[in-house]
Amino acid sequence: MTILVLAEHNNVELSIETAKALDAATQIGGEIHVLVAGFNAMAVAKQAAKLDNVAKVILAQSQELEHCLAEPVAALIMSLADNYNMFMSCASSNGKNIMPRVAALLDVMQISEIIEVLSADSFKRPIYAGNAILSVQSLDEKKVITVRTSSFSSVGTSNDAPIEEIAEPSEIGLSSFVNAQYSDSARPDLTAAKIVISGGRAFGSAEKFNELLNPLADRLGAAIGASRAAVDAGYANNDLQVGQTGKIVAPDLYIACGISGAIQHVAGMSSSKTIVAINKDADAPIFQIADYGLVADLFEALPELEKSL
């Protein structure tokens, strides 16, 4: 088995998610290569070379690869495809965008968002927003897999794998980058944080959302999350949404404030080690999965919580 893992990065820094996808790859077993596709991304390749169990890092650079657009990255992976029988990435927005394109070009069915490796060809994956878990065996010769990284742990960083630069791939030209509004927060990344504190519709305004959650998050070193209702109402940016269609998180501590606990939200946080819910409605479904529930008005409870920490 030779596995190609697509690195998740922003041309400067390798995302911790990649180390978790490598955990899944290691469990599958075989020779593992990491592909860094980007522009001016040597620093990323060097970080990837440190990750345990990586036999080789392949670095492909071109302007077209800079923003990780699906068409050029998929074409790049296809140009390497003969050497591999498994292709993996994180189930990040990049991985979800690119890998099914690769799967179709290989004429195989992608196995989306695996949460467990059962054997080299069998995996568990959630369906119905995590309300059922499917065990599937891939019958395809080549396999394309995206990994739900919250279900895996990071491999170590004591390696020194060789970096191989490959020739600049040819232009595809179907799409081009226009601009991006990336939120730059000093807070820990939602998917990497040990503590996540999330707010829902109950906050009523962006001002209250920030005023109540920011100091608590600062105090706890926590990442801030949000329900879809809070994002739709403009209290929080879209990249903070936790749930079936947002981010999947599994921190040590998840604090849900003014969130009802709809199945689509729970899908994104039910693997958290400890769940705290603060809601003024004692019948809110979130209490059914919370380790500690506090029936209270968050406008009073959150300032008090901040003071007592």
Partner: protein, 248 residues
């Protein structure tokens, strides 16, 4: 401009599903079925483009059992012009769905194909990207905003770090995220009108496509259950509990 909107019939998002005790799958009998929520967004976007005079025809297409005709009728009532049902008793994987859609796209030659980003039953999030690959089209997934300008489109996408805008050459594939629009409710007159709109039924057998499953389902289980813990009386008590577990 012609727009093709593939839609899937799924268990309604409000239904709490039941996993069959013998591990053979999810209970599908006698549960409320609806159009996949993301597909409502796709269709809404297509209809809006038509209303704005930017598109001439909106075609909804679905691959599934005979009952899927109801979902297509709902799409016609929302405002699609005609519907195509590719009837199949087998449940198809995204790879097979994309192969069928490719053939339909080659026949219909739409300028834009708008799909949902994921079907909320199997949560695969693959079909649009696969179809784009098979047609060698540009793809803009997880769309939050769509602007057509002649033979290209600017699409703002919801991505991990925030929002990203890309330009794609048409014809192209777009997959929608929930915030792109608010799907309309259908009015009674439109439901009645929809009964007269054309709904063409084709058989999967006529497509000559390999639809055999590539993923063998070993079993379907309930997720590990989380049970309710305790209700604390005060903030102080909560903090005490969390401190005792060294969580804060």
């Amino acid at each position: 401009m012609k727009i093709l909107v593939p839609i899937k019939r799924v268990i309604d998002y409000k239904v709490k599903i039941n996993v069959k005790a013998d591990g053979s799958g999810v209970q599908l009998d006698n549960v409320k079925m609806s159009m996949n929520p993301f597909d409502e967004n796709s269709l809404e976007e297509a209809i809006k483009l038509k209303e704005a005079g930017k598109a001439d025809e909106v075609i909804v297409v679905s691959i599934g059992c005979a009952k899927v005709a109801e979902t297509l009728r709902a799409g016609l009532a929302m405002g699609a012009d005609r519907a195509i049902l590719v009837q199949s008793e087998e449940i198809l994987e995204p790879l097979a769905v994309a192969k069928i859609l490719k053939i339909i796209a080659e026949e219909e030659k739409p300028d834009l194909i708008i799909l949902g980003k994921q079907a909320i039953d199997d949560d695969n999030n693959q079909t649009g990207q696969m179809l784009a690959a098979m047609l060698n089209y540009a793809q803009a997934t997880f769309a939050y905003k769509l602007e057509l300008n002649g033979d290209s489109a600017n699409v703002t996408r919801e991505v991990d770090g925030g929002l990203q805008t890309i330009n794609i050459k048409l014809p192209a594939i777009i997959t929608t995220d929930l915030r792109i629009n608010k799907p309309r409710f259908t009015s009674l007159p439109n439901i009645i009108k929809a009964k007269k709109k054309p709904l063409e039924i084709k058989s999967i057998a006529d497509f000559n496509v390999d639809i055999s499953p590539r993923l063998k389902i070993l079993n379907t289980q309930e997720p590990p259950v989380r049970t309710a813990g305790i209700i604390v009386g005060t903030v102080a008590e909560l903090v005490e509990k969390l401190k005792a577990k060294s969580l804060v």
